[in-house]
């Protein structure tokens, strides 16, 4: 029997795999175009499984933005789960795009979004599954350009062997400029190198092959230099100055199968002004740009109508900081209560948290409450510039208990700079205080059966933060702190959650890694590493073997304290926040001095100089 590859995938392969719904590509609002009328094919790849990738807002925006272009067809690709990969390799099926089931090796662009470091091996694996040369230097004319963007692209170096070019910053405008350059290039018979030179001139585009890195004897970087004059010495990130007039899709794909965040994500603002010193997002997504309440209500309307979703999440880095949050919530609730559309608020700050608001939001559907004090002691919270106090927390949880909540989650980090065991002890103490607060609320007012979950993760120092020079706590130290906490949290009302520190160690290495790590990544992939973000697939020993084979020391990246004047692997990338500001914040951190929210007064981070005329309002 002769059947087409597409039918073979659909009818023969899919019945053999777990959750075939991941690979069908005909979800509501997915875009299907006639390929005869298309001149540019774009594969938007999320290097993780469908349920994770489909929860990502950036993909939703870029997917519809590109498909809005008449001559462009953008399709989705996710990392096939290992059972699917096995079937594909057995039948020699190349990685295909979901919508058309066409192999992506024939596409013009293969774009990856970099959301977390532990997805990097999946990128190599997906390229291999696609039949595209893994190393950029081995790709030839007629093969796709591999492009990557997203938050991890701000330190693109560990991936520079594999990616032809990176898009730095918000993609709404620059992606279309790249497409435009491609249209012009395709009309000529110029080489791949000539196209890369063309895009290198677009602001926000980084072409790693046009830069040379030299090293000192001690392994640190001597210099990062561009190959020629026309290539910028420093690549500046892109921001969308005016959110109102920027593209935002009025529809989103509605998956059939259950995904991680199965709801409308209404992006209420970008950026954050708090300046928490551990937080990379708070630095790289600057400046702050809010949408108006009218815009948001209208957008919510269109998204609800086109999707049929029953829940909206007000998404941002710090939703309770939205200046018109009460007004927005009231409007949305009054408009959609009768239609039973639920609202959810992620990441509430404990100092600006209002129980009235939470009650309003939860009129339709109740969900859990999570608070993030981040650290146990006041000293520690001052070091990281969290700007909240124990009193804030006690007041907030008291209000929550009075409203009837009895299950709360508290989120902390261990391994923060200058942390001592007393600070770790304070995490446990804070947990006990929250339980005491529950019992201080009169019985008739509080809910039954208090349970406080204390969730603790290990701190990973990230580029473009004041802690970018800091060593990570060793695996041993982190384990000892975890053991200590386990011993200190001995109460039936408290649940203690933690993760093994090995993954955090790997994250620390790749977050602040340089180009040489490309070799490690390649070796690790060859040795079978993939889906490293998944406990059941993460192979720490294999990673260590890859380091050995590449002749590199992982400790050099994770445990070394950098000199303040050291050339950092990402020094040729400009995110707008200046190194001078980060240095100042680092020094203040070590003294435990606070920096104010820059909505109150400008703290001079440098972002306002990113664009002519300033970007802060």
């Amino acid at each position: 029997m002769n059947i087409s590859t597409k039918d073979y995938i659909y009818d023969e392969l899919l019945p053999r795999v777990e959750k075939p719904g991941r690979y069908i590509g005909t979800e509501w609002n997915s875009i299907h175009k006639d390929t005869k009328e298309i001149s540019i094919r774009f594969a938007f790849c999320f290097p993780d499984v469908y349920e994770v990738g489909m929860s990502h807002l950036g993909m939703k925006i870029i997917y519809h933005l590109l498909n809005h272009q008449k001559d462009v067809y953008c399709e989705r690709v996710f990392a096939p789960w290992p059972d699917m990969e096995t079937e594909m390799r057995k039948s020699d099926i190349k990685l295909f795009a979901l919508e058309s089931r066409d192999p992506i090796k024939d596409f013009d662009f293969v774009g990856f979004t970099l959301q977390y470091e532990m997805s990097y091996t999946n990128i190599l694996n997906m390229l291999d599954l696609a039949g595209i040369p893994i190393k950029a230097s081995q790709r030839e004319k007629g093969q796709p350009f591999v492009v990557a963007g997203g938050p991890c692209a701000y330190n693109p170096e560990p991936l520079s062997d594999f990616v032809d070019f990176f898009i730095l910053g918000e993609g709404e405008e620059v992606t279309l400029e790249v497409i435009d350059a491609y249209r012009r290039w395709k009309a000529t018979d110029k080489s791949r190198e000539e196209f890369l030179a063309m895009v290198a001139e677009i602001r926000g585009i980084y072409v790693p092959s046009l830069y040379k890195v030299s090293y000192n004897a001690d392994g640190t970087i001597e210099e990062i230099a561009s190959n020629n004059e026309s290539v910028p010495k420093k690549v500046r990130k892109r921001v969308v100055k005016d959110l109102k007039n920027s593209y935002f899709p009025d529809k989103v794909i509605v998956p059939f199968i259950d995904i991680v965040h199965d709801r409308i994500m209404l992006e209420i603002f970008r950026g954050c002004t708090r300046g928490c010193r551990f937080c990379q997002a708070g630095m790289i997504y600057r400046p702050i740009r809010e949408r108006t309440v009218e815009e948001l209500v209208e957008l919510a309307d269109r998204l609800l109508e086109s999707s049929g979703y029953e829940e909206i999440s007000l998404s941002s880095l710090s939703t309770s900081d939205f200046s018109k949050l009460n007004e927005l919530v009231e409007k949305l609730v009054s408009k959609y209560e009768s239609k039973r559309v639920g609202l959810s608020l992620p990441s509430l700050r404990i100092d600006s948290f209002s129980m009235k608001l939470v009650q309003e939001v939860q009129k339709i559907r109740k969900s859990g409450l999570t608070f993030a004090p981040e650290a146990g002691s006041q000293r520690m919270r001052d070091v990281i510039n969290k700007g909240v106090t124990e009193e804030d927390l006690v007041k907030s949880v008291e209000a929550a208990f009075i409203t009837g909540y009895s299950n709360l989650k508290l989120y902390f980090m261990i391994g923060l700079p200058t942390e001592a065991m007393e600070d770790v002890q304070d995490i446990a103490d804070l947990g006990y205080k929250v339980v005491d607060t529950y019992y201080s609320v009169p019985k008739e007012k509080r809910g039954k059966g208090v349970n406080i979950t204390i969730s603790v993760s290990s701190f990973v120092p990230k580029p473009f933060t004041p802690f970018q020079w800091e060593p990570q706590d060793s695996i041993e130290t982190l384990k000892e702190k975890q053991r200590y906490l386990r011993g200190a949290i001995k109460n039936k009302k408290l649940t203690y959650n933690w993760h093994e520190p090995f993954v955090s160690y790997m994250e620390a290495i790749f977050a602040r890694g340089d180009r040489r790590l490309g070799e490690v990544l390649y070796k690790a992939w060859q040795l079978g590493c993939k889906f490293d973000g998944w406990d059941q697939h993460f192979k720490f020993d294999t990673w260590m073997e890859a380091f050995k084979e590449a002749g590199l020391e992982p400790e050099f990246y994770a445990y070394r304290r950098r000199e303040l004047d050291e050339v950092l692997p990402w020094d040729h990338i400009d995110v707008g926040v200046s190194k001078k500001y980060l240095r100042g914040e680092y020094k203040k951190a070590l003294k435990g001095e606070l920096t104010r929210d820059c909505r109150v007064v400008c703290t001079g981070c440098g972002i306002n100089l990113l664009e002519e005329g300033g970007v802060c309002k």
Binding site: M1, P15, G21, T26, D258, E305, R365
Partner: protein, 250 residues
């Protein structure tokens, strides 16, 4: 004493028949339910909600279908807050349903109508199989032999017992099986089978195919299963669920 006037609008029960096409054959029962709920929202159908802490739409399905099987006859019962004609619901909802799901017919149910789920007793399936080098008469002979067995033992996974395997006899659940030649090419046949279905006794057609493959020692490839109709037994007759509803309404 004054008697409070209860909401004058009455809820309306409706049964809808739909096809589950190739595009959605890998969508599970639960996911299909969610797809309908969202289509109902998109179409702004005046659906009734259950009362309680987390109200949900009042919709329910007939007999669930295994992953990978298409169907011409799936049934959905819904409760509406307002009176609407089935034709109007079908038109509005079809516009908002994902590719592969299409409503074909519907009827109003009376208040005391039994649920589609509870009614199902039989399902009729067409199974397309390919066997290299076997003629139709050979195929039919083998099938007759198979059907003349006193019992047909197969191993069945038990989802409620950790997918532990259990040996069961499926012969009593096969009402009839016949074979005809499929039009496209040699060696392809349609198995037409009527099987017990529903909450009491339920035979999944893929289990029958497996049993026949084991019995014949033939390699059956290109297996495609389609559910043709779902029935309820009523006074010795098999009625499809819409016919039954009309009977109930008389």
């Amino acid at each position: 004493m004054q008697i409070m006037q209860v909401d004058s609008k009455k809820n309306v029960l409706m049964r809808l028949k739909f096809t589950k096409g190739n595009e959605v054959k890998y969508i599970s029962h639960l996911d299909l339910m969610r797809a309908f709920q969202r289509a109902i929202r998109r179409a702004d159908i005046p659906i009734a909600y259950s009362s309680g802490f987390n109200p949900h739409q009042e919709i329910s399905f007939g007999a669930p279908l295994s992953l990978g099987i298409t169907s011409d006859a799936e049934y959905l019962d819904i409760k509406l807050r307002e009176d609407m004609k089935p034709e109007a619901i079908i038109e509005e909802l079809n516009d908002k349903l994902p590719a592969g799901i299409k409503l074909r017919a519907g009827t109003i149910l009376n208040e005391r109508a039994k649920s589609a789920m509870g009614l199902v007793t039989h399902s009729r399936y067409t199974v397309k199989v390919n066997v290299q080098g076997i003629e139709l008469n050979q195929f039919r002979e083998k099938l007759d032999e198979f059907m003349s067995l006193a019992e047909i033992k197969v191993m069945k996974k038990q989802p409620k017992k950790d997918f532990e395997l259990k040996e069961i006899d499926i012969r009593p659940m096969i009402v009839s099986v016949g074979a005809v030649e499929a039009p496209d090419s040699g060696g392809s046949y349609f198995l037409q089978c009527l099987l017990l279905s529903g909450s009491k006794n339920n035979l999944k057609p893929e289990l029958l195919v497996k049993a026949f493959a084991d019995f014949s020692s033939w390699e059956l490839t290109g297996v495609r299963i389609n559910r043709e109709e779902v029935y309820t037994e009523y006074q010795g007759q098999l009625l499809d669920l819409l016919q039954y509803a009309e009977k109930e309404n008389q």
